[in-house]
Symmetry: C2
Subunit: 354 residues, 2 copies
Amino acid sequence: MTDETINIEGAVCAPSLTHNEQIVMGHGAGGRMSQQLIQKAFMSAFDNPALRAGDDAARVESNLHANLAISTDAHVVYPLFFPGGDIGKLAVCGTVNDVAMLGAKPLYLTAGFILEEGLPMETLRQVVASMKSAADEAGVQIVAGDTKVVQKGKADGLYITTAGVGVVREGVSISGANAKDGDAVILSGSIGDHGIAVLAARGELGFQSSLQSDVAPLNHLIDAILDASSNVHVLRDPTRGGLATTLNEIATQSNMGILLNEETLPVHPEVAAACEMLGFDPLYIANEGKLVMMVAREDAEKVLAAMHATKYGEGAVIIGEVTAEPRGRVLLKTALGSTRIVDMLAGEMLPRIC
Amino acid sequence: MTDETINIEGAVCAPSLTHNEQIVMGHGAGGRMSQQLIQKAFMSAFDNPALRAGDDAARVESNLHANLAISTDAHVVYPLFFPGGDIGKLAVCGTVNDVAMLGAKPLYLTAGFILEEGLPMETLRQVVASMKSAADEAGVQIVAGDTKVVQKGKADGLYITTAGVGVVREGVSISGANAKDGDAVILSGSIGDHGIAVLAARGELGFQSSLQSDVAPLNHLIDAILDASSNVHVLRDPTRGGLATTLNEIATQSNMGILLNEETLPVHPEVAAACEMLGFDPLYIANEGKLVMMVAREDAEKVLAAMHATKYGEGAVIIGEVTAEPRGRVLLKTALGSTRIVDMLAGEMLPRIC
């Protein structure tokens, strides 16, 4: 037992984590409970500048002539295969995207597999092939890996944890903390596709759907964006917790307000229908091939044009702006003209969506 | 379905993996079946020079002024706590050691957590504190992390996958492929401690034991070794599959013979007793704080002296030599004077030992 442990246990004002509390599904949902878990359980122990920045990837200083971006993601999506993708594609794209969101060129991935005894070899082959295909598209190499097997019933088919290393573009400083008053907020395409596609694969929609997950590597899109403008302040992929949660994180990190225009939010009709039926809000549904960004207003149009010329940016639109007030808040101007607060995801929503 | 998949499926002469085969525990044991799995399922898809080198960490060329070492390890040890360590310490040391075994200075770690619903928060706190403590001792930062939660029964408490990035020492070229005829084989201490300590924690020994796992970060020991000699050819930590498996890997990679002297092999009396009772051979039991190395014979004594001056190298001994023949084989000269072949671990031995 180290001093650190005692410090953690001695911390007062922990909003929710007491000594006997257990991990619940909400801790993995990417919303507030996840943040509390990170703050209480991990940040207090691991605290360092790179972690503290709170971005999807860590930019690390070194004695090298460039900064590296390093990131990791564990993947436990259920089911393993869903329309438009599978756990392997997800594991590669998730980490490629996290590295790229720092304005870095992803170069190298690692992959740690936890396999359940009894997993059909063919399933593994398909997943690995899918990883390879996604890595090729992204232009990254999977340079290290590890495999563990656990007894039947101790995992759910397979879990994959990837880590990624990239080199940060020179002169680029992108962070969730860098949103500026007046910045345009650009979204690269429709929201909620991934989450609803996975629900469909679970048979939970109650109707036939042709919807595909949007899972995709976004690093080439980001290259196009950064080539078009040197005034990109924030890049983030709204995964678990959805766009609402990601924007709340940025509003908090930057201590800025964000005002969204509901009418401009692109939502696929099938996603809208599913959400209406199931009582979900597309703003909280996970995406795996979308990014949201803040860019100086004067560069917004040329960035949009550059995005429209790419495969994964065709549907890019301006969805709002960064405002000085109310600091740390996300507001939505509804189609009816009223304005409501958009909070971050609270508790659990769709478990094991990625 | 990509061309890669078709190529994999079309591969002939796969020694054991057929279309309908399932993952079994042996695939995770670190021996031959693991190698086959890697060859068949992963190497064929991900093939690149860094993976092909077959070392514990990947040395990756970049446009930077130094080479990076990148590695990953998934950890599923059962139970989570055992004499001398826990899954957190293991997760940090395992990856630190893999990076360091390339002659690199480990700098940055990532950690992906898969948590089972219902895990006591206190357990997580202890594990995280243990990670922090091990990271501090090793002098590395955990710069990125991710947490997923799965339903009760879909994991076993928690699993941790770490990845590590380090900078390779200038002028150093260390690889399992570099063993040279006449090299001394040095082992840093007693073998089998980790595996038997975990068995003790499972209550499978049938007697009380004071044995502790040897889990430890070895990067400072490696610094001392590399400061002492510029003729270090191989560094490897004999984890899953034990010393026998690691030496077989090196013999194969280097296409050299290795001759061990049984009388010099350090085995703790309690490990020896446990192995005798349970029918195990300490050569196949996992270690988590030991390294085996090949160094030019003329530097062996000064390397030993440097090792003896460090915390984790006190028990270092010369256990054998590299020989030109028989190529790719490990031989053991027994205490009785006979010589037997030491093969790599076949099939499953101790599941979830790390």
